[in-house]
Symmetry: none
DNA sequence: TATGAATGAGGATTCATTCAT
DNA sequence: AATGAATGAATCCTCATTCAT
């Protein structure tokens, strides 16, 4: 009979997750210490462990939350909508997520680069299945001649990679661009790429 | 009075770098241990440190070598060549690097995601300058009407991200694609995207 | 101005002692945690410490109660009774205690094996003196020719060790005996030993 | 291809085991710390862990060695020898072990009292089988009328418990006996008990 | 009386690095 | 050029105890 978390519990758990996100996204799981997280959260180390059983538990909690958020926009693609517009909206949402939640994106990137040890099952399961369904939608649009023939999976890989790049490789992007705002140019460029790719002649 | 490195020295250094690459690219800098590298290299831990002053030194040596390799294809873009072909060739080279040297790509990604603490100066210096020159070439092509107007920097961001994605997010890509070979579809898709983007109507 | 303990107080103290006995006897003092005791008792950890000042206090309370129980049968030996019968009765009582209260026996064994840091004074004081008196009784019986000459102290050591063995080394005893009930054979065997030892030819 | 342990390795491992025995036998597994063992051994804590993978490994190494020593005298009982003499010799050997190696005895007692989590399989396996064979020998002697009818298993339980008592309950024994040497009286008493028990009328 | 929250003091273990040979 | 031995500095986690209510 789990008790409902009290207000102070919720607040501290949220604080810890926020601190964990900040630290983990920057240093990776192994590179992050409970000390860092505790200091960032403004709590003592044992108090952190009072709310989460282990360093790992914090990381997993973050990843779970993240995966849900990360997949959400996919479900909002409307098979009955205008194909190019739907995909553009999706891409813009993803880019906006990179702009607003770069730490989340980097946490996710870190996990996958290191072999996705903790979320491989979600990738092979839910993600795989979702992308299969989505591919059907894309293929339907192609069959109707609404968009040019493209490989559905690779289309999404390119959207994911291009948009997440601005969060994950932020340091490199800004080193190249100097003072220019990355996201202004990014949005225009990505929209251009997708529109040219998909719009039938 | 530096001695010229003997054959055995060179061989061991190479062995250590290869081992370091394998380990660092999988577990990140902090997540990797000298023990792992020593075992992978088949050398004793103190012997590793006989060739490289520290764990950090191995990592930095790898990054330096990597940066050179990573930038090389950029210099091979021929301003006098056919614009679309030049860029396509570049993109294919990058994709081929992701296919052949995924560990290198992941090592690089790891470093940048974590804020590029060790290569920020190279990014702000050499990379920034190189990309400025390259931008001039692209803008020249645009001005001549050889390619459609695109933002040069973002063009390269998209090429980098799309191609490196197949190395860095390999686990996710394969989870989505199942048994399908990622690189076959990737090459076609990326070529399609770039060609549509750049070819003037 | 000590208040008389209320009924609920008494009940909780008893609950805590029962839980402490169960936990301490299995894991030893250092191997037991207040969390375990609290969970076994069905009380919160701070509530445990409301009734007992410390983990140590629970342990000491248990030991004290235990020592009294443990010594009681000795006082019931009747110098005017039949010598062999008196000693047999005592031994059977001790064996019965091993059968009914093995946790208590193990708690006691643990404490003494580890040097009896908390009850050394009781051993050197009350126990020593009691055994001195008892030795006099035994020696009286021997002098009268009622029992064979035996060393009184060692007689009791052998009774204690043989009977407590079935509680303390329960795991080993059952591993050797398999399904056979240890206590049935134990009683016959111990009675046989003592009777043969003490009965004059 | 395990290397043969060098002299220094052997020496340090022996030192650590000796220290571990001293500490574990007094405080139990959970009550002992690597710090204590390290200090007793005169080595640094990480150096301890250079020779043994963990605290647990030291404990298990001790138990293994101990079990072998502990069982050895059983195998020396000669079915063709004089029954009473054989058993008396065995009992005296066990008592001598308690005198010379009380720490080993206490370590063993500690482990069994706490449920024998690490050696249950040896008890149910090798010990059980050995005692079955031994029971056959005893029963043979009984059948021939060489010794009185006794329950073989309980006979050994009583020998084990009486002899080990002088090691395990040393503190209590000495508290009762005062300055008297425990082992002198113990040997006479135990011999008397066994002889009376076994010798046919 | 009772408990959710919090923590200082450990405690086992890891690991980059140094030492001695 | 190589390695067995050794260690100081973390680092994760535990736990008895205290605090606040």
């Amino acid at each position: 009979m789990e008790k409902t978390p009290s207000r102070i519990q919720k607040k501290n758990q949220a604080t810890i997750l926020a601190a964990g996100l900040e630290v983990f996204s920057q240093y990776g799981f192994r590179g992050s210490t409970l000390d860092q997280i505790a200091e960032t959260a403004g709590l003592s180390k044992p108090n952190i462990l009072y709310y989460f059983a282990s360093k790992d538990a914090i990381y997993v909690a973050l990843l779970s939350r993240l995966l849900a958020d990360w997949m959400k926009p996919v479900y909002e693609i409307n098979p009955a909508g205008d194909p190019v517009a739907e995909i553009l909206t999706y891409a813009k949402q993803k880019l906006e997520m990179s702009r607003l939640y770069p730490a989340e994106s980097r946490l996710f990137a870190n996990e996958i680069i290191q072999g996705a040890p903790r979320i491989m099952d979600v990738l092979s399961g839910e993600l795989h299945d979702t992308m299969q369904s989505l591919a059907k939608v894309i293929e339907g649009w192609i069959a109707k001649g609404d968009i040019r023939p493209v490989h559905p999976h690779h289309l999404f890989f390119s959207i994911w990679s291009m948009t997440q790049h601005y969060a994950d490789f932020d340091k490199q992007v800004r080193a190249v661009l100097g003072d220019e705002d990355p996201f202004v140019g990014a949005e225009a460029h990505i929209e251009d790429m997708i529109r040219r790719l998909l719009t039938p002649d």
